[in-house]
């Protein structure tokens, strides 16, 4: 069944980078304040990474906060504790940490399926949380990592200040655009097709001779890299890394966002992040006590009636669920 925005979906799938850049270039002027748009961008990127695993590889991870958190701590420690001054280097370290984490967890967790796989990802995420909590000298422990400085961006010899919300927003957008472009490349490649095949029918894909293990592990690492980049950006955005970044509640949040938007679509994670964050931001103003119940109810309603999420329903089932 084709939804009302199905033609748009086709165009966006073909040009995801342009779509994301166009929307998020304008968004700061639409939202009540710029930082909300940046928050949506960063969490949307986090959800995009998670969605690679859920929507495209068909794997539900309960511990995706691990890669978000590793990215955040990687960048944060580089800048706050090691005193580095290059934002690019900090982002690279964050992504590296996240990617390594993804490789490690994937190596073990992918040996099992379904709920067992999910619980293993959760166990590893909790392990990282525990380590960050107790290695207080390095990570700040449960008080969080503070002291992440506000640095300018070094680009082609120029030093571009990022100390206003808008300038930081465009910097984050540029990074996200690169990540989306990279993801598009990956999904368009033969590897992407293999992933789709595995998602639809794992045993048949294996029977056709594809290396299922390797493909899944690679998708795990890509997913971790993207979520890690998002985490690194958030560390720069907030100038703190709270230890809650690694906690299972954060993993739960990205699941909600992805589902609200629609798994298995490019834009869905961003739509879901926007819905969740705008609701949280605005509802808490008018319903100080009761806004969490609204979000929970919205989520339940979505699972029941709109399992493809907002975006997924609008475009009429990019990938059925």
């Amino acid at each position: 069944m084709r939804g009302p925005l199905a033609p748009v979906a086709g165009w966006i799938a073909a040009h995801p980078v342009i779509a994301i850049v166009a929307v998020f270039a304008v968004l700061p002027f639409v939202t009540p304040y710029t930082s909300l748009a940046t928050q949506i961008l960063v969490y949307g990127l986090f959800a995009l990474g998670f969605n690679l695993l859920l929507g495209y590889a068909g794997l539900l991870s309960f511990g995706h906060a691990a890669y978000w958190g590793l990215g955040a701590y990687g960048a944060g420690i580089a800048l706050a504790k090691l005193g580095w001054t290059s934002l690019w280097a900090a982002l690279a370290v964050g992504m590296l940490a996240a990617g390594l984490g993804g490789a490690l967890v994937g190596f073990f967790a992918l040996r099992r399926r379904g709920i067992y796989f999910a619980m293993l990802t959760l166990a590893f995420a909790q392990l990282f949380y525990f380590i960050a909590f107790h290695l207080a000298d390095l990570t700040g422990g449960d008080d969080g990592l503070r002291g992440i400085p506000q640095l300018p961006l070094g680009l082609f010899g120029l030093s571009i200040p990022l100390d206003t919300p808008l300038s930081f927003h465009y910097f984050a957008l540029a990074c996200a655009a690169v990540a989306v472009a990279g993801l598009q490349r990956v999904l368009r490649s033969p590897f992407g097709a293999v992933l789709a095949a595995i998602r639809e029918n794992r045993d048949r894909a294996a029977a056709c001779g594809y290396d299922v293990k390797q493909a899944r592990l690679l998708s795990f690492v890509f997913s971790a890299l993207i979520s890690g980049l998002a985490g690194s950006l958030d560390a720069l955005r907030l100038n703190v890394v709270p230890v809650e970044a690694l906690f299972w509640a954060t993993s739960g949040q990205v699941v909600i966002m992805t589902l609200l938007g629609g798994a298995g679509t490019f834009f869905g994670p961003f739509v879901g992040a926007a819905t969740f964050l705008v609701l949280a931001d605005r509802l808490s103003l008018v319903m100080a006590d009761s806004w969490p119940i609204v979000i929970g109810s919205v989520f339940v309603a979505f699972v029941l009636f709109l399992p493809k999420g907002i975006w997924g329903t609008l475009i009429g089932g990019f990938h059925g669920r």
Binding site: S35, G144, R146, Q150, D163, V240, D281
Partner: protein
């Protein structure tokens, strides 16, 4: 496009990207941002903070506001999470253009808020416990700490305890920053006074399962048990301690007592348990400013104020006082004004800001749980008072200030 147009539009673009927010309109209300955990496990204490702030705003506006402007406090739910606290602070600063921020409950959230207020150059008065927020590197000239911290509380309560309750101690504490700080301070104080710490029991925060530990503690026969068990953990710990008969064997002491925990748990739960507090409403019987505060508060809300209501009240009033003194809403000028006129007294007696670290020094009380509440809210009786004393806190040098 010709060169001139290009230069104009580029300059405009750079201006938009580069320059901070445009001049805020003078006049209009004086806005104070107030992030606090309206949802989550400490919502009851946050409600207390909020009531204190609301009373302060009412009183200020009844007198005509500050510098002729009405005071408006914008409450935001930070869910007790640092990331949310930071985001709400951004919203308050970018969207609402608040001049100042008061608030925060729990150290990690306060510090996340502080990072945002420092960057935006807005004065922040933090109103809950944290040892780090007034020390380097977290602190700043516009970061003020109104509340007590684990060092002061620990030295005051521990010092009082080792003089009045017993010399052989056992420490139970939650294994996170606040718990560990309390353990360290109490241990230091007890040893300095010639007491001994027979042992300690760290436990994972949020997992108040003590039945595995209690027999060991009882076997060691301490005279005093210090329990740094926050929130629901504290209620669980007391229940378990009672069921094992510990109250009959030793005195139990907590760093902080909360009226709402006693209300929730019932009088028997905290009966005979000693604890510190920055304010307890029965202090009104002996301190006239407190009587004024408690009467006005109870009249407005129908419930008495507890310690954190006092912080909320005092925090807002201090912002107002600073603005009035500085005759400006510029945060740096207000901060200087507060340091230069450091003494104040809003609800319980004289308080003052220490110059080097913007730390508020204040009296605190030791209270003990009554076995039966006197009236609806008389859960505690006053056991002692510890006057403000800089020896209870780390020195400026120890906190990294030169």
């Amino acid at each position: 496009m010709n060169r001139r147009t290009f230069l104009h539009s580029t300059t405009a673009a750079v201006a938009i990207l580069g320059f901070p927010s445009v001049l805020r309109a003078q006049g209009g209300p004086l806005k104070i941002g107030f992030p606090l955990p309206l949802t989550g496990p400490f919502a009851a204490i946050a409600a207390d903070q909020r009531r204190g702030a609301e009373l302060a705003v009412d009183e200020l506006n009844a007198k005509g506001g500050v510098l002729g402007r009405k005071v408006e406090v914008l409450f935001r739910d930070d869910e007790l999470k640092p990331a949310v606290g930071a985001q709400r602070t951004k919203e308050l600063i970018e969207n609402q253009n608040v001049d100042f921020v008061v608030g925060g409950l729990a150290a990690h959230v306060q510090m996340a808020i502080n990072e945002q207020t420092k960057r935006a150059g807005r004065l922040f008065i933090s109103i809950s416990q944290s040892d780090e927020i007034s020390a380097k590197p977290d602190t700043s000239p516009i970061t003020f700490h109104e509340a007590l911290n684990p060092t002061i509380t620990g030295r005051a309560v521990g010092g009082w305890g080792v003089q009045n309750l017993g010399k052989k101690w056992w420490m139970v504490y939650a294994d996170y920053a606040w718990g560990k700080q309390n353990n360290a301070v109490f241990t230091e104080v007890v040893k300095k006074a010639g007491g001994t710490v027979l042992g300690s029991t760290p436990y994972p925060l949020g997992k108040p399962e003590f039945s595995a530990h209690i027999p060991r503690i009882q076997a060691a026969r301490p005279e005093v048990l210090m329990a740094a068990t926050p929130g629901a953990d504290g209620v669980a710990f007391m229940k378990q301690a009672i069921s094992f008969g510990m109250k009959k064997e030793m005195k139990i002491l907590v760093p902080l007592h909360f009226l709402f925990a006693a209300k929730e748990g019932g009088a028997e739960l905290f009966a005979d348990v000693y604890g510190g507090t920055n304010f307890y409403w029965e202090v009104a019987e002996t301190v006239p400013q407190a009587k004024k505060f408690v009467d006005a508060f109870t009249k407005k809300f129908g419930v008495p104020p507890d310690g954190y209501a006092g912080y909320g009240y005092s925090g807002i009033l201090e912002v107002a006082r600073g603005v009035t003194l500085a005759k400006s809403t510029d945060s740096a000028e207000v901060a200087d004004a507060l340091r230069e006129n450091a003494t104040y007294d809003h609800y319980k007696g004289k308080q003052y800001w220490r110059k080097c670290d913007n730390k508020a020094f204040q009296d605190l009380w030791l209270v003990k749980g009554r076995s039966q509440a006197k009236g609806e809210w008389g859960f505690f009786e006053i056991a002692g008072k510890v006057p403000a004393d800089e020896k209870l806190e780390r020195t400026c040098a120890e906190k990294g200030h030169v």
